[in-house]
Subunit: 151 residues, 4 copies
């Protein structure tokens, strides 16, 4: 997975956007911890709440602008188990933004003591209504660039 | 939930359509058994495979005829836990069919010994492409009526 | 499903306990609305948050007292679709409590305009560490009785 | 993610183990395709069926030997969307096996025409009953080594 987000003209740091959620019983498995694919769903919660904090919603991006962020690559490294009823902190940042690609990074921590439970990333292609590759609408690109720490 | 499927002109019994599936680890929870909402997903597997055995697919019903079977009511009674890696037998039958309503019944059994794990039912409204209530297409109604044990 | 919670000695109304959640993309399906089994998971969120508001957690009930509330029966009636990114209000109340049985009722509403999307109920058996039927611990019974509108 | 499975003493190729599954409606999302986290669940189906073909089950590995394969790292690259009701072919192979680590690789293809939909990998740590790192039981190690193309 490319991690070339630290290009020369990056002068500010990427912002980190936070949200919290509580582990549901449905998300546990018989090992007594959270089943691993749920972290991938929580990444989605992280990036959606990031966009809300950036001033728009992924919902309007899809419904009004017809722009989809289709997942091309996702990765998660598990550090410690998440357990039922724990309050989790999802920290999301932008690793890279290009015309037709958005690369998010995530950390998932136990809120109570700040233990890092998992970290990951996802690469998304920008698609139009016909699911063809397209460029990020000028309506959203500046906000993404700013979040990525670029002007 | 109405169970008035035994109307006077019913002369044959409803057919039972069977399919099998194996419990996934993802479907268990920290009690060490299957989380209960997964049975509702398995009901879906049961009715979809019933339709395939009736000679059509729910996929073509949606894509070609624009007919959706929207769930209006679902119920499940749990008799015994389902466990990881067990092979399950899903038995589906039609409890009632009317112009714009289809009522399925289900039994979920452990395949190995025939133990009944759960039984349930779901009522579906027939919707058109605009999600307005409509009548079952004549392409499907006869098969549903036959499955329900009616001519 | 029995709804005989209005017994003669009920002099107060059951309390309603509220919590909110936002619909995740993962919870939608290709009809463009929430897949119906997710409401059953949201019922779980509702009753867990009810218990937290009653002064204890389901987690400690399981971990410390070894008491499980195993689902014996669940039902959901769907009134209107839930959609992606909507904020939902889950309203939970106790329909009945007996020594070894707890019966919850639920309403799920769109928070923005109060539209009722679904209503349902679930019956739970109280099980001990060995998954044998047992009585609700005196540590929890009074809170449940009070929530049910009984002394 | 390390891919150093082609060590010098590898003289045979890793075997590929196949299983099929059909996409459930519950697995789709409002883009009309499968929600991406479900591929991670299908990877689990792939490795579980691989083990069954190797002559044991993951269930007995957990229940009898008290050995868990805890996910430490998972990655999925998406090539083409999976759609409702499609029959999928899951191809699983072992990328690496060491005393206390198992590294699986996966390909998910549309069965009808062999189109590659996604490929991925997962790294698992071997844990004992107390969730402490341990070595693969001699009961399973030879089968894993053979599957990895080593003696």
């Amino acid at each position: 997975m490319s991690t070339d987000s630290q290009s020369l003209h990056t002068v500010t740091q990427p912002q980190v956007y936070e949200t919290k959620l509580r582990v549901r019983y449905a998300e546990t498995d018989q090992m007594g911890v959270v089943y691993h694919s749920n972290f991938i769903v929580w990444f989605e919660v992280g990036r959606v709440e990031m966009m809300r904090q950036l001033g728009f919603t992924y919902n309007e991006m899809e419904q009004q602008e017809g722009q989809h962020l289709a997942v091309a690559d996702v990765r998660c490294r598990y550090k410690a188990p998440a357990r039922y009823d724990e309050l989790l902190l999802i920290r999301t940042h932008l690793m890279n933004v290009r015309d037709s690609l958005v690369h998010f990074g995530y950390e998932i921590l136990r809120d109570e003591d700040g233990t890092l439970l998992a970290e990951g990333e996802s690469v998304h292609l920008v698609l139009d209504r016909d699911f063809k590759r397209t460029r990020l609408s000028p309506r959203y690109l500046p906000a993404f660039l700013k979040a990525a720490g670029r002007r």
